[in-house]
């Protein structure tokens, strides 16, 4: 029974990270109808910047917001300088839906290459001061560690922050309106281009936080977040790709699912499990758990 409970805790911890990456993908999808495969690269770059901040300031907690802000800026730059001009150019052409995907791949490759040039292709350690040794309960150590707790809390704060913005502010209303009906939004005086850039910036921030929280549990290299991208995508599909709440629930479901597979079956099948989950969800409920109806939720 305790194993069962611990597995859930660990699953929620990794699930929070998937939730953030999934949120990042969903925010971009909603604002510009693009699956942003560059998200992995953007998050890696912001994490490298967090790593730099950390090596100067010697403080993980200060480096965290720096990474997040960097992530937002990187994402806004990508949107304004590549994605927006591309959308205008490819509008109405037969490659309208394919060209942006290819552009995000190009950006992913470019960022990886730049990261490799600047920081090398070796594994760097971006460490948090928190212990990754599990909490003691009585005399037994459980797998859930202070680092896991920080991940869950950090993710929860950011998710709550996003939820509040989307639900209670004008900016949130503009973001939602622009993603559903860009033309009506423009006719209501919303500067849709700018709102899209802000949507990308939020997405970049979420992805950056995912990168900066997960990296202390592993290592940092130009492609160390590729798997996170895939998990985030699967989580987003589980949640229906349109729904922010769905993105979060999808992340947690996937995290807990992985934790159980890891615990009761073994690590070798986790990845194929993700692929199989993806295929099953796409076949049974292509609109995801939260697809349709749920889209009004912030």
């Amino acid at each position: 029974m305790t194993t069962f409970f611990n597995t859930i805790l660990v699953g929620i911890s990794s699930g929070s990270i998937y939730a953030l990456m999934s949120l990042s993908l969903v925010l971009v999808w909603r604002s510009t109808r693009v699956v942003n495969f560059a998200a992995a690269g953007q998050a890696v770059l912001s994490t490298y910047l967090g790593y730099e901040a950390m090596s100067r300031l010697h403080n993980y907690w200060l480096s965290l917001p720096i990474a997040v802000i960097a992530g937002a800026l990187i994402s806004a730059i990508v949107e304004s300088f590549v994605m927006r001009p591309l959308a205008k150019r490819s509008k109405g052409s037969p490659v309208e839906s394919i060209a942006p995907v290819i552009a995000t791949l190009g950006i992913l490759g470019l960022i990886r290459g730049i990261a490799g040039l600047v920081w090398g292709n070796t594994f760097l350690q971006y460490t948090s001061p928190l212990s990754s040794k599990g909490f003691m309960i009585g005399h037994t150590t459980i797998p859930f560690s202070p680092l896991n707790a920080a991940i869950v809390i950090g993710a929860a704060i950011v998710l709550a922050f996003f939820a509040a913005i989307f639900r209670f502010t004008r900016l949130g209303l503009a973001l939602r309106a622009a993603s559903f009906q860009p033309e009506i939004s423009r006719l209501s005086g919303i500067r849709v281009d700018r709102i899209r850039t802000i949507g990308w910036a939020f997405a970049g921030a979420a992805g950056a936080l995912a990168g900066a929280l997960v990296t202390p549990t592993t290592y940092l290299s130009p492609n160390s977040l590729d798997l996170l991208l895939v998990s985030g995508f699967v989580a987003a599909v589980i949640g229906g790709l349109e729904s922010l709440i769905g993105a979060v629930v999808g992340g947690l479901v996937l995290g807990v699912g992985f934790a159980f597979i890891l615990q009761y079956i073994g690590s070798e099948v986790t990845f194929s499990a993700a692929f199989i989950i993806l295929i099953i969800v796409l076949f049974i409920r292509p609109q995801g758990i939260f697809g349709r109806g749920g889209s009004r939720e912030a």
């Binding site: 999808w29 109808r33 693009v34 699956v35 495969f37 590549v82 001009p85 591309l86 150019r89 490819s90 052409s93 037969p94 490659v95 309208e96 839906s97 394919i98 060209a99 995907v101 290819i102 552009a103 791949l105 190009g106 950006i107 992913l108 490759g109 470019l110 990886r112 290459g113 730049i114 490799g116 040039l117 090398g120 292709n121 130009p222 492609n223 590729d226 798997l227 991208l229 895939v230 995508f233 699967v234 599909v237 790709l241 070798e268 099948v269 990845f271 194929s272 993700a274 692929f275 993806l278 295929i279 796409l282 076949f283 292509p286």
Partner: protein, 321 residues
């Protein structure tokens, strides 16, 4: 485009082949290796052009399908002791089977889902290969096709021989694909790509056309995977990374995604970039870092610039009568 008959195309292929093969006698091993690389990439890129340019589907996972072909060929050699030309065929068949399954899924998926799913495949499949003993784990499996047969001449080097094999295969594949695309299948795919609704109204079974395109594309990818394994002398998870999948997409975009012949140009660019950027890197007194990453940067910039300047690819899709 002027229509050429299959026979004319065959003669052209023969001529090109003869020229290349004679030329291969006058270059060093590195160039022969690169020539083989170009031929193999050209086949792999053609598989993407077939899929994206002619049937409007996208795949970020063709590197994984190459892996399927490569592993299948090697296993066929190790366990069934097949002669290697047949193992290439096995590679193609294995690719087709995997592609058929994937294609059934793909035909139901809209753009973003298909891209994401094939991406998951590209990341997942090689790491899966790590887990199975029969696939040789991280080290992979050796693939030894042996040296050149004596009838081609005594001083025939290893890479020159690989170059021959790759070029002959490439010419055969291009000849087949060209002819195939001028049959009704090719016309159907283009119709589906240009306007799915209109295509459906004229009685084309869209799902079937898409699955067929995916299967065929995967067969070609599988075959190129087997050739790739021959050139490397092994199959291993690290040979078929996500980067390989992305490289193929890049090549297809540079080739002009609806232009089969462009695959060759795409392949030449892909092989030339590391070579050129290496030269630049050494010139800059380059460190390992520069050598390792400059090609990626250059390719990516080229990719971004290409989609920005010519989202339709460098060439306007041809209108076939």
């Amino acid at each position: 485009m002027k229509r050429k008959s299959p026979a004319t195309r065959f003669l052209i292929s023969l001529g090109v082949g003869a020229f290349l093969l004679i030329a291969s006698g006058h270059v060093d091993e590195l160039r022969a290796y690169q020539g083989a690389q170009v031929a193999i990439y050209a086949i792999a890129i053609a598989s993407i052009v077939l899929l994206t340019g002619y049937s409007g589907q996208i795949s970020l996972g063709h590197g994984a399908l190459m892996a399927v072909g490569g592993y299948a060929a090697v296993i066929a050699q190790i366990h069934w002791h097949l002669p290697y030309p047949l193992t290439f065929l096995i590679g193609g068949i294995a690719g087709a089977l995997a592609g058929y399954v994937l294609g059934i899924a793909a035909a139901r998926l809209r753009g973003p889902y298909l891209a994401g799913t094939t991406l998951a495949l590209a990341v997942g499949l090689p790491s899966l290969a790590n887990q199975f003993h029969i696939l040789g784990g991280e080290q992979g499996l050796q693939f030894d096709v042996g040296t050149a047969p004596t009838w081609v001449g005594k001083d025939f080097t290893q890479y020159r021989w690989f170059f021959w094999v790759a070029v002959v295969m490439a010419l055969a594949i291009f000849w087949l694909l060209r002819n195939l695309l001028s049959t009704r299948y090719g016309r159907r795919w283009r119709a589906v790509r240009a306007n799915p609704t209109a295509a459906a109204l004229t009685g084309i079974d869209i799902a079937k056309a898409k699955v067929l395109a995916f299967t065929l594309s995967s067969a070609v990818a599988g075959l190129s995977g087997a050739l790739f394994a021959m050139l490397l002398g092994l199959v291993a998870p690290l040979a078929f990374t996500l980067t390989l999948s992305f490289t193929l997409v890049t090549g297809a975009v540079l080739a002009g995604v609806s232009n089969l012949g462009g695959s060759i140009i795409g392949a030449i660019v892909l092989v030339a970039i590391p070579e050129l950027s290496n030269a630049v890197a050494t010139h800059l007194g380059g460190s390992d870092r520069v050598t390792a990453n400059l090609p990626g940067v250059v390719t990516s910039v080229l990719l971004i610039v290409t989609v920005l300047l010519a989202p339709n690819g460098p060439k306007i899709p041809r209108r076939h009568k």
